[in-house]
C-alpha cells in the first residue's frame, strides 16, 4: 500500500497534473489563436472596457443575486472559496507544490482548512440536492453535472477523514490513496469537462467580441451553398 501511495504522490501526481496544465493551456492557446487569426484587427473594436468591467463584476457578484436562484448561486459562489484555497494553501499540499513546481505558497491553518473543507462538502451536498429535487435544475442537468459534483466532493471527504482518524472508518493509507487518486482524477477531468471554466470563463465572457462578425463571410457562405446567384 505504501508503494501505491508513493506512486500516487510521485509519478502519477506529476503525470495527471501535467495533463491538467497542458490541457488547459491547449484550450487557452486555441482560443487566443482562433481569436487573433479570426478577428484580427476587429479585436480593437470590441468593447474591452465593458468586457473587463463585466468580468470584474463577477468576482464579488452581489448584484447578480436575482430572485429564484439566490441560494444555489450563493452556495455555488462560496463553494469556490474552499475549492481554491484548500488544495492550494493547505500545509500538506504546499509540500507537493514545492517539490514539483518549486513554488513556496503561504499556508492556511489546519483549523481554517478544516472549516473550509466542511463548508465545501456542505455546499456540494446542497448543490447536488438541488439538482436532484429542483424540477427546473433537473431538466437541465446531464450525467456529468452530477458526476463532477461527486468527483469534487470525494477528495474533500477523503482528505478530511485521512486527517481526522477518529472519524475515519478505514485505515489511513486506504483513505490517503483514495484522496490522492480522486484528486488526480479531477486533474484529468478538468480540461475535458465544464471544470475547464477555470480558463474558459474569460473567453466566454467576451461575447461583445464575438459579435464582431467577419466581413464577407455571409456572401461566402451563401455562395458555397447556393452559388453566385444566391438570393434572399
Amino acid at each position: 500500500m505504501e508503494q501505491w501511495i508513493e506512486f500516487a504522490k510521485g509519478p502519477l501526481f506529476a503525470f495527471t497534473f501535467l495533463i491538467m496544465i497542458l490541457g488547459l493551456a491547449r484550450l487557452v492557446v486555441i482560443q487566443i489563436f482562433s481569436l487573433i487569426t479570426g478577428k484580427g484587427r476587429r479585436l480593437r473594436n470590441a468593447p474591452w472596457r465593458k468586457i473587463i468591467a463585466d468580468a470584474a463584476s463577477w468576482v464579488v457578484p452581489v448584484k447578480h443575486l436575482i430572485p429564484g436562484t439566490k441560494i444555489f448561486s450563493t452556495l455555488s459562489y462560496l463553494f469556490h472559496i474552499g475549492v481554491l484555497l484548500v488544495p492550494l494553501f493547505l500545509a500538506d499540499h504546499i509540500v507537493l507544490w514545492e517539490g514539483f513546481l518549486g513554488i513556496n505558497l503561504p499556508a492556511i491553518g489546519y483549523g481554517v482548512a478544516d472549516s473550509l473543507t466542511l463548508f465545501t462538502i456542505f455546499c456540494v451536498i446542497i448543490m447536488f440536492s438541488f439538482r436532484l429535487f429542483s424540477r427546473r435544475l433537473r431538466s437541465m442537468s446531464r450525467h456529468a453535472d452530477y458526476g463532477l459534483l461527486i468527483a469534487v466532493i470525494i477528495p474533500f471527504i477523503s482528505g478530511y477523514l485521512a486527517t481526522h482518524p477518529s472519524y475515519n472508518p478505514f485505515p489511513w493509507d486506504v483513505m490517503m490513496l483514495i484522496h490522492l487518486l480522486s484528486a488526480e482524477l479531477l486533474f484529468v477531468l478538468i480540461p475535458f469537462t465544464k471544470l475547464a471554466h477555470i480558463v474558459l470563463f474569460f473567453f466566454d465572457r467576451i461575447s461583445g467580441l464575438h459579435w464582431q462578425l467577419r466581413p464577407g463571410a455571409g456572401d461566402k457562405v451563401a455562395e458555397e451553398l447556393y452559388g453566385k446567384e444566391a438570393r434572399v
Partner: protein, 479 residues
C-alpha cells in the same frame, strides 16, 4: 404559396410525420433537412468566426439555470424547453457531435446525440420563442450569450429556407426590391409623407419647415424605421422639432436612395445584416454625409452602432442615436423643454437592443427628468429591464400574436401595470407596436409613445406657437 396556414405545413422525412410550423414559411424544406442543416452549419463554421465561441461554450456551460430565472419567456411558461441554456444546448450538442473530435469519439461508443428532424423542429420553434433580449446573458456566470446563439441558430435555419415569411419578404424587398425598404414605401410616398408632416407641423407648431431631402454634405444622414413614416408621425415631428429648435435644420438630411434603418439581419442572418449595413453606408457616401443619425428604433440603432464599424471599413461613419443628440442639445442649452406641459405619470421602457449593453440607459431618463414632473422607473430598469416580448423580430410575425401577448409580454405587462403610469415611453418602433398591443390585451390604462412624441408637446419652438397654446389646441382636438 398563398400564405395560409396549410402552406406552412411541411412533411418531415423521418417517420413520415406531418410537421406544422409555428409561423408561415415561404418555401419549407422537406427533404434531407438534417443533411442540409449540417451542410449549412459547416459552411458557417468554415467562413465565419463562430468556432472559438462554440468550442468554448460547448465545454463550459454550467447548467446552473440562472438564465431561466432571468428569461421573461420562461418566467411566463415554466416550460424547461424555454430555458435559454436548453435551447442553446440544441445547437451546441449538434456542433460538438459533428464538428469536434471529442464529439466524434464519444459517438463511437453508442447512444449519444444525433441530429434529427425532431431536433430541427425544436430549434425552429425554440429559436423563435426567444426574443433575443439577452437578459439571460447578463445573469449567466459564464457569460454565455444565448442571444448570439439564437442569432446563429436562426442564421443556419435561414440558410435551409426556414425563416418566418414576414421577415424574409421584408428583407427581400429591402435588398432586392424596387423600394429598398422593408415596408415597400416608394419614394413618392415618402415625399408625400414629408409634405404632410411639414403641413402638420405648420398647423400645430406654427412654423413652415421643408424636410431636407437628398441634401449633400450634411453632418447627419437620418434613418429611422421606415414604418415610422407611415405610422409614427409624432415621433418624426418630434425629431424634426428638436433639429429645428436647436438651429440644426441645415445639418441633416433624409436620403431617398435609402431611408430605412430597419435591419432584420440582426435577428436572423449575418449575410443580410452585412448587406443591409452596406446599403446604409452607401447612401451616406452617396450624399457625402458625415455621420449617421438613427431615429427611435432599438434594433436599427444597435445594427448601425455596432456593425457600421465592423462592415464599414474606411466608410465606418460615426453613428448617433437621436436620444444622444437630443440630450446633447438640452445640456448645451440649444433647446428648451417646458416643465409645465406634461402632468401625467410617465414611465420608461428600455429597448433591449440599446439598453442591454449599457449604451442608452441614462440619456432618455435625463431627458425625461428635465421636463416631466412625475417620472417613475420600472422595476427592474435599465440594463436589467425586461423585454417588451416582441424582440428579435417576433413583433413582425403577426401569426404569433397570441404568443407575444400571453407569453413573451406577460412579465412586461405586469411591470407596466405596477408603475401606475398613464404614459409609457418606448423609443423603439418594434417595442411601441408590441407594447401598444400589450396594453390593449391586458387592459392597462396606459398610452405608449416615443420619447420625441412627448418632447413634441413640450419643446419651445423659436418663432412658433407657445407650448401652452399647443397644449390647449391639442386638448380641444381630443374633445
Amino acid at each position: 404559396m398563398d400564405g395560409s396556414i396549410n402552406s406552412a405545413t411541411a412533411v418531415s422525412t423521418k417517420n413520415s410525420k406531418t410537421v406544422k410550423y409555428p409561423y408561415y414559411i415561404e418555401d419549407p424544406v422537406t427533404e434531407n433537412r438534417v443533411a442540409r442543416f449540417l451542410e449549412a452549419f459547416a459552411a458557417v463554421v468554415k467562413y465565419s468566426d463562430y468556432k472559438p465561441l462554440l468550442d468554448s461554450y460547448c465545454t463550459s456551460t454550467a447548467k446552473c439555470n440562472r438564465c431561466a430565472v432571468a428569461c421573461p419567456v420562461f418566467l411566463a411558461t415554466g416550460d424547461p424547453k424555454d430555458i435559454p441554456c436548453y435551447r442553446t444546448n440544441l445547437l451546441l450538442e449538434t456542433y460538438r457531435r459533428y464538428f469536434t473530435i471529442g464529439g466524434w469519439l464519444k459517438s463511437r461508443f453508442g447512444g449519444g446525440f444525433e441530429l434529427t428532424d425532431e431536433i430541427i423542429d425544436e430549434m425552429l420553434d425554440g429559436f423563435y420563442r426567444c426574443t433575443a433580449c439577452r437578459r439571460c446573458t447578463r445573469e449567466c456566470p459564464m457569460g454565455v450569450d444565448h442571444g448570439l446563439i439564437t442569432h446563429l441558430g436562426r442564421y443556419i435555419l435561414s440558410l435551409i429556407g426556414i425563416v418566418p415569411k414576414a421577415l424574409q419578404v421584408s428583407v427581400r424587398e429591402q435588398l432586392e426590391g424596387e423600394t429598398r425598404n422593408t415596408s415597400k414605401v416608394p419614394k413618392a410616398a415618402l415625399l408625400n409623407t414629408l409634405e404632410f408632416l411639414s403641413d402638420e407641423m405648420e398647423e400645430s407648431l406654427g412654423v413652415k419647415l421643408q424636410f431636407p431631402v437628398d441634401e449633400p454634405g450634411r453632418d447627419y444622414v437620418f434613418f429611422c424605421a421606415v414604418s415610422d413614416y407611415l405610422m409614427e408621425p409624432e415621433t418624426l415631428m418630434g425629431n424634426a422639432a428638436v433639429l429645428y429648435a436647436a438651429g440644426d435644420w441645415d445639418r441633416w438630411t433624409i436620403g431617398t436612395g435609402n431611408y430605412d434603418g430597419i435591419n432584420y439581419g440582426l435577428f436572423y442572418s449575418d449575410w443580410h445584416l452585412e448587406n443591409i449595413i452596406k446599403q446604409l453606408i452607401s447612401e451616406v457616401t452617396r450624399l457625402n454625409g458625415k455621420s449617421i443619425l438613427i431615429g427611435e428604433c432599438g434594433h436599427a440603432s444597435r445594427s448601425a452602432h455596432d456593425f457600421v464599424p465592423v462592415f464599414g471599413g474606411k466608410e465606418a461613419y460615426p453613428v448617433t442615436n437621436f436620444m444622444e443628440y437630443t440630450l446633447d442639445c438640452i445640456r448645451k442649452g440649444k433647446i428648451t423643454l417646458d416643465p409645465d406641459i406634461v402632468t401625467e405619470r410617465v414611465t420608461y421602457h428600455d429597448p433591449c437592443n440599446i439598453a442591454r449593453s449599457g449604451w442608452i440607459v441614462d440619456q432618455p431618463r435625463e431627458i425625461l427628468r428635465s421636463f416631466v414632473k412625475d417620472f417613475v422607473d420600472m422595476k427592474p430598469a435599465g440594463q436589467d429591464n425586461f423585454c417588451c416580448g416582441g424582440g428579435g423580430g417576433l413583433v413582425s410575425v403577426d401569426e404569433i400574436h397570441e404568443f407575444r401577448m400571453s407569453v413573451g409580454g406577460r412579465v412586461k405587462a405586469e411591470q407596466l401595470r405596477k408603475t401606475g403610469a398613464s404614459i409609457c415611453i418606448a423609443p423603439c418602433a418594434n417595442c411601441k407596436k408590441q407594447l401598444k398591443e400589450l396594453v390593449e390585451y391586458y387592459e392597462i390604462p396606459c398610452r405608449v409613445m416615443g420619447l420625441h412624441d412627448l418632447i413634441l408637446r413640450a419643446i419651445q419652438i423659436p418663432g412658433g406657437k407657445s407650448t401652452a397654446e399647443r397644449k390647449e389646441e391639442a386638448a380641444m382636438l381630443e374633445i
